[in-house]
């Protein structure tokens, strides 16, 4: 394939600014063409159509976007590439069963912008660049009495910029919400290359329209995040952790509702019996598998945490738990219980029988969880395909796991059909199709269905018009979040 002349020019212009931090090497491009939802694909011809850039500050990001705009080339902002909705690679799969690659593009990797510029204990804020990993931020906070509470399961690898762009949540969602609740201010580059600074470093901040909040969850389609002011929070004084295993979801759910009365658990994580079994086999543990709940409750002191655990354990057994494990944050086994939950993804992936797993991201109101689980079981029976459930019971965000082979069009089509039916049931129960993974390209159709379900399809027009204001040339991460470009079907 002949080298694309436009990309040749773009490469030359970018090289004059970034020097060696621009690459057309096929290996470098292969490393950045995918994300965790498209990991298996090996794209060809990348160096003819793509350029990788690794800017070091907002000014360089601005120059990249300006050059992209001049030549009409797409920009794909990219953090740690851990997203699960196909939002940050060059390859996309849509629920309408299409696989596509943008004709040409500039991958903008924020990995070099990874400084923690400031931590203020008094103001309880951190000012960070987008490439900082969430766990790295919490490591830096270890010497203080503060922490950053948003805790996506991928926190070890996920970057702050990516988490903001995705609107990530995590295990502590019920208590602490998602990224949108913790971003006070942003610096970002819009689709014309202009650098904007929005928000404040104070909790109270009225600055016209809340563009900071609008940017959170915009998945790189409105701007490239180059800096963030994050709110920090005091770490709980002590934590009581309970693992309780039940024979059925109903008993577990009733126990959970009882615990929840009058308080918000720090985490309340659920794993159905088949998921728990896979995790037990993965970790080689000698504990029984069943419907498993992992609960964290905040306590005022170590002594109070111990006392709370005794009550919790008794209540769990009374509610039907046939196995329990307890620990306070002073105990060695505290992390072991958490590791069990953290290994859910690993267990599912390691024990999978097909090539891929689609991790759906539905949430329903807490009151509708039993009905949602029942309807998922009905869909499972109808198609004879295992739909394993596990995730954040505390905020109603259970992740249905559907094994499939994304590269087999028939199997992919069936998996997406199942996913769509699950989402429709979640919507009927007042829920959502995407809680914390974003829309990416995989959930484009589901977003439309969701808006239609609310009788609000025209809201998409509003989103398209917002996109046009931020990115008039439509070059920022096209094909993500918004299903169509003006005048052109994907």
């Amino acid at each position: 394939m002949a080298r694309d002349k436009i990309i040749e020019r773009v490469f030359e212009e970018l090289s004059s600014i970034l020097g060696r931090r621009v690459s057309r090497d096929p290996v470098d491009l292969g490393l950045h063409a995918i994300d965790a939802s498209s990991y298996y694909f090996i794209p060809k011809d990348l160096s003819e159509r793509y350029v990788l850039t690794v800017p070091k500050d907002a000014e360089e990001v601005s120059e990249i976007v300006k050059i992209a705009g001049k030549h009409g080339v797409s920009v794909i902002p990219q953090g740690s590439s851990t997203d699960l909705s196909m939002g940050s690679g060059s390859i996309s799969i849509t629920t309408a069963n299409q696989i596509y690659m943008l004709e040409r593009g500039i991958i903008l990797h924020t990995g070099m912008m990874s400084s923690i510029e400031e931590i203020s204990e008094t103001d309880r804020v951190a000012v960070v660049e987008p490439g900082v990993r969430i766990d790295s931020l919490n490591e830096a906070l270890a010497e203080t009495d503060l922490f950053f509470p948003v805790d996506p399961a991928s926190a070890r690898a996920a970057s702050v910029g990516g988490a903001i762009a995705t609107g990530a949540g995590g295990l502590r969602g019920a208590k602490y919400g998602t990224m949108r609740d913790w971003v006070l201010g942003l610096e970002f580059v819009d689709g014309l290359g202009r650098i904007h600074r929005t928000g404040c470093r104070t909790v109270k901040c009225r600055q016209g329209y809340d563009l900071t909040r609008l940017m959170v969850g915009s998945e790189g389609t409105l701007g490239v995040i180059t800096k963030a002011v994050l709110k920090l929070w005091p770490r709980p004084a002590a934590i009581s952790r309970l693992m309780a295993v039940f024979n059925d979801f109903t008993s577990l759910y009733r126990f959970f509702l009882g615990v929840r009365r009058g308080r918000v658990p720090l985490i309340a994580e659920y794993m159905e019996n088949r998921v728990a079994d896979k995790v037990i086999r993965t970790l080689g543990l000698g504990i029984p598998a069943g419907h498993t709940l992992i609960l964290d409750l905040e306590a005022g002191s170590g002594e109070e945490a111990e006392k709370l655990l005794k009550t919790l354990e008794k209540d769990a057994k009374d509610a039907g738990a046939f196995y329990t494990a307890t620990a306070t944050d002073r105990d060695r086994s505290f992390e072991e219980i958490y590791r069990f939950r953290r290994s859910m993804y690993a267990g599912m992936v390691k024990m999978k029988l097909k090539r891929h797993i689609i991790f759906e991201d539905t949430a329903v109101p807490i009151s509708k969880l039993p009905e949602f689980v029942r309807r998922v079981r009905e869909i499972e029976g109808k198609y004879g395909r295992e739909i394993a459930l596990g995730g954040h019971l505390g905020d109603g965000n259970l992740h249905p796991h559907i094994e499939c082979d994304l590269e087999d069009p028939e199997d992919r089509s069936l998996a997406f059909k199942i996913a769509k039916e699950i989402v429709i049931e979640a919507l009927k129960l007042g829920g959502t199709s995407s809680s914390e993974h974003g829309i990416g390209s995989m959930k484009l159709e589901l977003l439309l269905i969701e808006l239609r379900n609310k009788g609000s399809e025209h809201t998409l027009d509003l989103m398209i018009n917002i996109k046009k204001v931020f990115d008039p040339k439509w070059i920022l991460n096209p094909g993500r979040v918004i299903p169509t470009e003006p005048g052109r079907k994907i």
Binding site: D25, P26, V27, D28, G30, L31, H32, I34, D35, A36, Y39, Y40, I42, K44, V54, S80, S81, T82, H109, G111, M112, S114, G131, R133, D135, S136, S154, R156, A157, A158, T282, S343, Y345, A346, V349, K350, R355
Partner: protein, 95 residues
Amino acid sequence: MDKAWQEFRKCVFCGFCESSCPTLGETGERGYGPRGRVRVVGLLLNGIYSKKTAEYLYTCLLCYACVPPCPTGVDIPGLVEAGRSILVRMSQKSK
């Protein structure tokens, strides 16, 4: 080759291995980390390679720090060595 391919396919690109890698910490470039190196071998097995392939694979210290964090148990050092073997065979053939 088949064994390497099977091993490569275990990787889910989660990046949990990266924070443990001493060489990634030095450069910040994905190719100098375990997730990148696994991917580099996958690309190589698909006939996609460049001078960077050797650069990324031969800068691995084979220190095994990336092995414990891997949730799917990829034999990352083994894959790196498999990648190096392929490069050696390719270089012998071209002589």
